[in-house]
Amino acid sequence: MSEYIATIGLEVHCELKTETKLFCSCRNVFGAAPNTNTCPVCAGHPGVLPVINRKAVEYTVRAGCAIGCEISRFSKWDRKNYFYPDLPKAWQTSQYDLPLCIGGSVTFDVNGEEKTVRLNRIHLEEDAGKLVHSGNCTTVDYNRCGVPLMECVTEPDMHSADEAVAFLEELASIFRYSGVSDCRMQEGSIRADVNLSLSRPGEPLGTRTETKNLNSFRSVRRAIEAEIKRQTEVLESGGKVVQETRHFDDNTGTGYGMRSKEDAQDYRYFPEPDLMPVVLSDADIERIKADLPELKRARRKRYVSELGLSDYDASQLTSEPEIADLFDGAVKAGANAKKAANYVMSEIMRKGKTAGEDGIAIGVTSVQLAELLSLVDKGEINLVSSRDVLDKMWLNPNESAAKAVDELGLRQNNDAGEIEKLVREIIAANPGPANDFRNGNEKVLSFFVGQLMKATKGKTNPKIAGELIRRLLSE
């Protein structure tokens, strides 16, 4: 609709899934009663001393290694000063000029094409508390205050909402696979700020605006689309885009300027005197790097090139790291890749997903799954009864598939002699349908299979049953 090109950069905030906060030993959990996970350190009392959580530093470095950042051998902490009740100290402990990770890039597919977005940096900082506005006062909950937060700043390499959302999805998957964050949108554990400007081709970038605190991929998409439209209208009508911080209202689908925050950019950063710098050796970084699992993109490619799966199946299986780990483990334990893929996509994903929730809960181990698939493969149980076995093993890692099959009495009868005797009895008892089959009515076959299943309580191998009935009816 316009000849303007949008240029977009993102600042992505992502909470780390450590047990405790960044500078004190309060628990880092979502959903606790207000202010129950606070202490004098995170509540900003005077005279307290923060101490850095080693794991938060390691997780940030791990995230940096996963996206090819240069890891700083020397990194320090700074105070970012601002007066707002979500931070009781009146400053946020963050990293200014010497962040933990520098550079890096994320490659992903968008609308069938490969795209790479460069990162400028990742630094570690503390999250702020939660404000609830009601009437003429605001109540404050500091449970989230001090939770370790990675801020990932991209270069302005994106040009559409599609690209920004695809980038965010890939980044979230990298962090989930690396095990550093759950990236749960519903819990606000990943949030993004969007910097956006418009320009005509060949001309310098226009004035940018920053839309803050978008907490779902959907909001990011809508906010970008709304801001492109708004800036286009301003420029088309001869106006000028004002550099400002904006807020996007998800209910109305429109953004508005937050003018009262204009001066707040004056953060007066200075070095944090209460925290010592972080020095990392090559050995530290190599150790963290060696711990990195194979990431989503690499796995997806390997499933196609080495295991012969379709790209669709590979993308389904890699949608969550827990699913990919289960699948990989089952194949390693001897399961056929294609069969394991189908089983995971149909049975496991159906069972492990809860509507409206991020992520998946997997209740079987890869060894249990491989064993179950092997029993199906050998004809000892059929696919339908495998569901009961799965139910019995679910959340019970000590239950073996074979034991569950026996306990449930589901083992299929593969004794041809015994089945033949039963089939002969059934044919003798049903001369009408038997004649129909002999006269060419193939459909009657399923009637006999059904009768046999009924007589054996579903424990006959349907393949053997079908062949046998056909042979005996044709005698």
């Binding site: 309060c26 202010n35 509540a43 959580n53 601002y82 009262s260 004056d266 070095p271």
Partner: protein
Amino acid sequence: MEITTETIRHTAKLSRITLSAEEEKGMEKHFAAMLEQVKTLDTFDASAVSATAHILSSVNVFRDDVPGEPFDREKLLSCAPERDEDSYVVPRVVE
């Protein structure tokens, strides 16, 4: 750096403090005197001193990621000028 009324107003705004015209004047003088005092440092020859991020030399002071005993919420909340049953209460700050 010269301290002007503008500097004082900007700093007061960042600190959410309202100053009267008289107080602004007083602050101006006060700030200027502080800067004058700090200027003394300029007479020190620091060319042989390397830049540092911290006055102490130790690095990597970490703790393990192990939860501690929960702190008594009531003790913390009782320090607040205003509170309700489970939270701190401040003047409405919504944008």
